[in-house]
């Protein structure tokens, strides 16, 4: 069991800044995110797009913002637990017990939920049958490419992941790449490579087709795909790889006994506390009168929630307001050498 002052659910921009606000007042935090990296929407949905409304930063991209936030919290040496979804929350002797889907357990007086619109999960294939083959014959990411050697593989998608894996796996397997239209949004270079292989007969491309059915028993035997004219093609398939990007799923957060307003968690606008003492919600996931879903609002919410966490984590100490400019204590925490 990992003991800490605050467990932060979500490593989006707001969760990251919460680490900072907790760190400067002397609180330790552990951050959990289902993604494989920090940055939330900024890194997953718009890493290269410019943001123009971060105070005092005229322009930066989603990726730059993330990098700078990480740099700013570096002194606190915070632990990040990536590729893990927070699954359960329970209360034990006034402490919150937080459990992830990989069975990691945390104990803490405070939880800050900075979960955005929910955890990022791969977008699943639309067919019901797909569920039963998941992680057996259907995969949404490739962990071990050897698994796919000398097999018949149907790859769905039009982005870089689909093109890259079509290229890679066609070296050792029989690959069919299926996409709903002729244009691919992945890199032109990779697309041209894939096209070249198709001409050489080393790979099949079926455009304007979508998945119609999956047939098999324990494993998939074949799939059918169809186009707008209802033309149906049967393709022998051992494995399906599907790359339709990520979706945000509120998922387990909805089961923690917190009040919900549609997909948001109502909080007060003094501490950003939920209906449960010691559980706070900040950033896109919280709602209160006047809430705007902006990064800058999330930063403000992080500052206030952090102070409220102090009272729970250090019940016998008094919180002192200090400026970073002039507080030796804060500067020490930031690793700044003062004279």
């Amino acid at each position: 069991m990992i003991k800490t002052d605050v467990v932060i659910v979500g490593a989006g921009p707001v969760g990251l800044f919460a680490v900072h606000q907790l760190g400067i007042i002397g609180l330790k935090s552990e951050v959990i995110d289902n993604l494989d990296k920090a940055g939330g929407q900024c890194i997953e949905l718009y890493p290269d797009k410019p943001i123009y409304d971060i105070p005092a930063i005229p322009v930066c991209t989603g990726e730059e913002l993330t990098k700078n936030l990480l740099k700013q919290i570096k002194p606190f040496k915070t632990n990040f637990h990536f590729n893990e979804r927070v699954q359960e929350i329970s209360n034990q002797n006034n402490n919150w017990i937080v459990k992830t889907n990989k069975n990691k357990i945390f104990s803490s007086a405070n939880i800050i939920i900075a979960g955005g619109v929910g955890s990022f999960e791969p977008r699943k294939l639309p067919l019901k049958e797909a569920e039963k083959y998941e992680e057996k014959s259907i995969f949404y990411s490739v962990r071990d490419k050897n698994k796919f050697k000398d097999k018949k593989i149907s790859i769905f998608g039009g982005g870089d992941s689909a093109l890259d894996w079509a290229l890679e796996l066609s070296k050792t397997s029989k690959v069919t790449l299926i996409h709903r239209r002729d244009e691919f949004r992945g890199s032109e270079h990779t697309f041209n490579e894939v096209k070249k292989l198709e001409k050489q007969g080393k790979l099949n491309i079926k455009t304007k087709f979508q998945l119609a059915s999956i047939e098999g028993d324990k494993n998939i035997k074949f799939i059918t795909i169809k186009n707008d004219e209802e033309k149906i093609i049967k393709i022998e398939t051992d494995y399906i790889l599907s790359f339709f990007g990520l979706v945000m799923k509120l998922g387990p957060i909805a089961e923690w006994g917190l009040n919900l307003d549609k997909k948001h968690i109502p909080v007060d606008s003094e501490k950003f506390q939920t209906n449960k003492k010691g559980i706070f919600a900040i950033g896109d996931i919280c709602t209160y009168p006047g809430k705007i879903k902006l990064i800058l609002s999330g930063f403000h919410e992080a500052a206030l929630a952090a102070r409220a966490c102090f009272k729970n984590a250090r019940p016998n100490e008094i919180y002192k307001f200090q400026f970073t400019t002039s507080s030796k204590e804060i500067q020490e925490r930031l690793g700044i050498k003062t004279k």
């Binding site: 929407q41 949905l45 718009y46 619109v117 929910g118 977008r123 699943k124 639309p126 998608g157 039009g158 982005g159 996409h179 709903r180 239209r181 244009e183 949004r185 979508q210 707008d228 339709f244 990007g245 979706v247 945000m248 799923k249 879903k293």
Partner: protein
């Protein structure tokens, strides 16, 4: 105010007065029309505001941009008449527009 008709996958119909300048997505969200999630708040990054536009209205809409097509690749069961409702801006000429929402968004 233009009237926009939203029909869900069960055939239930809702006719909503949507102010000029709002998007078809916003018209749905602000009036609790089910079937549109709009997780990214209209920034064309989620494809959960996907709708099917009734054929006769398709060519009355602004031309579809590449970026919208790219997002539609990821939508649930896209068809020829698929659009992202956050990219359709309501104006007088769209009075009477009919859109169908898919059986789910993700």
């Amino acid at each position: 105010m233009p009237k926009i008709t939203y029909i869900d996958s069960q055939g239930n119909e809702k006719i909503i007065d949507v102010k000029n300048g709002l998007t078809v997505m916003e018209g749905a969200i602000q009036n609790n029309v089910p079937g549109i999630d709009a997780d990214c708040g209209g920034s064309m990054a989620c494809a959960t505001c996907h709708v099917y536009v009734k054929e006769e209205w398709l060519n009355k809409l602004e031309k579809i941009e590449d970026a919208e097509q790219d997002m539609l690749d990821m939508a649930f069961e896209p068809k020829k008449n698929s659009r992202l409702s956050c990219q359709i801006i309501v104006k007088e000429e769209l009075d009477g527009l009919v859109v169908n929402t898919p059986s789910k968004q993700t």
